[in-house]
Amino acid sequence: MLVVPPVSQHHSVIRGISMNPTETTDEARETEPAEVAATDEFVAAEGLLEEERRPTLELRGLCRYFGKLKAVHDVNFRAYPGQVLGFIGPNGAGKTTTMRILATLDTPTDGDAYVCGYSVVDDPDEVRRILGFMPDSFGKYHNMNVVEYLDFYARAYGFNGARRRDAVERVLVFTELRKLADKAITTLSKGMSQRLCLGRTLIHDPQVMILDEPAAGLDPRARVELRNLVRLLATEMEKTVLISSHILTELGAICDSAAIIEAGQILASGTIEEIRQMQRTRKGRTSHATLVVRVLDELESVARWLADQPHCSEVEVEDGVCRFGFSGEPRGQHELLRRMLELGFEVVEFSGHVESLEDAFMSITEGITQ
């Protein structure tokens, strides 16, 4: 089996998010736009359109304290149209608090957040028009069916007449809830409830969507379906999606980028590849990928040979396989495999051990609880 190790993902920095220093003083906060400006310069150099440059979601020194507890402390990041940004952190890290502030359900102690340029503190009304929030758990009204539920929220967002009916219909079609339109919402399954909640979030066609643990409690099929819907929102509808989840494999599959938060502070942020790279750097590794070679015999010889090859490092033999770091390009991997075969090594497996988002998360976070 030949598995090509992952290469840098296709998205450019505009689809990524600005890096955040883990320790930021007040002075540093004041100078924070400089780092943002660097990203903007990069974007300008890429020749992107003015509309594309504008972040749809921007957090600037966001803090939320509950007494002495710093639930969120100096959080900065940006997200852009069409981007799915994973928001990762252990329980109590401050994810939900941050999301609630973005959704205008809470106010920051300090700092601010902007949605399409509108402040969540000063312009909550405008923010509510362009933002959809899906909480981790949501209450259901009694004596109400699916259509009535969506219809109510369409009205609550100021939709009338044909516009309201169209909005409900559009959401029913998108979430594939048409056949359950007359079903009481309290009798819906967990998966269908999540779909309904996603539909409610979409009813006013928001530019930015905040999804807090949308996949929690869903069965595998429902998770895949939800994942596809979220992906569609970003790719087809150019929406900015900020999504939190404990299921990191899910996030790894749908996110362009991620921000890892622990004890109220952002520990790492960037594209998924950047975060993986950060993990390797933290471990003191310079390689881009970890490759695994399995041979029929002469495993020690293979290990010795690999240790002398360019781009190869940290060779170790373990559990009947040889694992090593490789810092070259994909073509270099192909070259390496070809030469091994030429030398007569009986290779039965040559694969890349892809460091997952979960690995990065475990490496970056320290398990601090507040």
Partner: protein
Amino acid sequence: MSTADPAIPAPAAEALRERASSQWMDRASDWFNPILVKEVRQSLKSRQFVVTFMLLLVGAWLVSFLSIMWMGNAIEYGAVAPDVFWWYYFVLAFAMFVIVPFTAFRSLLAERDENTYDLLSITTLAPREIVRGKLLSSLVQLFIFYSAVAPFIAFTSMLKGFSWPEVIYVLVLSLLVSVLACAGCLMASTLVRSRTWQGLMSLALLVGLFGIFLTFTVGDFADGGGIAGAIVDLTLDQSGWFWCANGVAVLVAGSYFVLFQQVTAAQLTFEAGNRSTGIRITCFAQIWLVWCGVFGFLLYISTAYPGERWTDLYRLFRELAPPLTALSLVHVAAIGLFASSENEKLSHRVSRSVPTSGPFKVLATPWLPGCGRGFAYTLLCLASLFALVVTCSAVAFGESPLQLVVAGFDGTASREGRIVQFALVGCSYVAIYSGLGCLLSRLFGGVNEVRSAHVRVVVLLSVLFAIIVPYMLRSFGLRAFDRYSLLIITVPFDTMGHVLRGGDYAGVATTMLLFAASLVTALNVPALAAGFGEILTTDARRLRRIHDARHAEPGAEDEIDVADGPG
């Protein structure tokens, strides 16, 4: 298309008609509040509503059946209509005064408990619309209950002794009281968050609502028992005074209805929004409403009824003025405490709504949020109240306002002058405690852990401490506390009562309290200056321009924020 069209089968025609009517209703519902539409839809399917409705019908049927059985032949010739109506009213009143207001209370509370309020609050519905929607759905329930009882009242109208004006009057009055109770219950639901407080509030409301129900119904309706019965008796032969009193009652109730809505909406309003101005204006208007009513009444009497009747009313004013002043002071103290302990800084959002011209800025300052401005508002209310009491007293006693004010400072003031002195002492107390709230708010404004609620609690505890300590010393048998002395000047009731009686220490106590109030006001001068200064330096036009430009040019607001701040 007509249903008689032979080309269309009957069931299909029926379905078409149903669909057309449903579409018409759907279109019509666009005009209504979304909460109302939702709640009506839910109510129609709700078991609680159906059960209440059925119980109401069963109760009314039972009343009909039992009254016919009980009255026997008397139903033909006796004036039994008031008795029968009272029983129907009893059944209806329970729904009106207990079930519907309590359902309104539970309705908003359930939104929080069942985690639906968050999603509702982030829609574009304004808090005021949410409150209005909840109130309207209560009103719809009331109309449905009225409709259910209407046929029974129609039946009663065929009995002897039935009076349409009386019945309509009682039903309209009950409806207004019920709507006011619903507004009060909605307000109560926003004031409590924790389960324990919710439970206590539920209990308190149930007791209060049962109280209203019993007040309106207990007693023999025909003999004028209960408020409703008493009113029916009064209606028959009342002059214009009866309707005048009704007008005043409706105005007062209306002002409280508005106040309840303002408070409820303020509780639901986002932190950066303006939660204060509406409440301040309403409370200020209430004080003016009451005292202008009194003033108008006195002015009318003094010109229309000179002589003996005038003397009676003069005595009436002398008796009524102190409690009315005390009630007004409690009102100002309550709103003053809240206004003076708000966060000092104006949010960007509110800054944008500040008037642009200088004189209007000064006029608008006391009405805008902030502790310094709240204290200015309290002083304005107190000054207004004092001026109104003096003016009314001048009209009632036929003395010049200046004479009365001078008499108010005099230790040997006349009985008329003591009312002014009483008002002055009360105003001093309110100024002292509101000023304390303002001082504490500024002192702890920068501390994250301290919120406005904490400041309010501290002020209330201070008031309680100042009242309880002298009483405790008295209970320990200290003779100095047996009679009024300056040692118990911290107790407002005792001091104000002493002043009204013209006691030995009245003059000294007045001077001391006035001095203390002036001192607290002087200490709050920086807060007042900051409050006015913030408004005067706010360039709302520029802030609005920047705000409008922000969407088009993100980052533009940074320059403003750094350079100018909101103020």
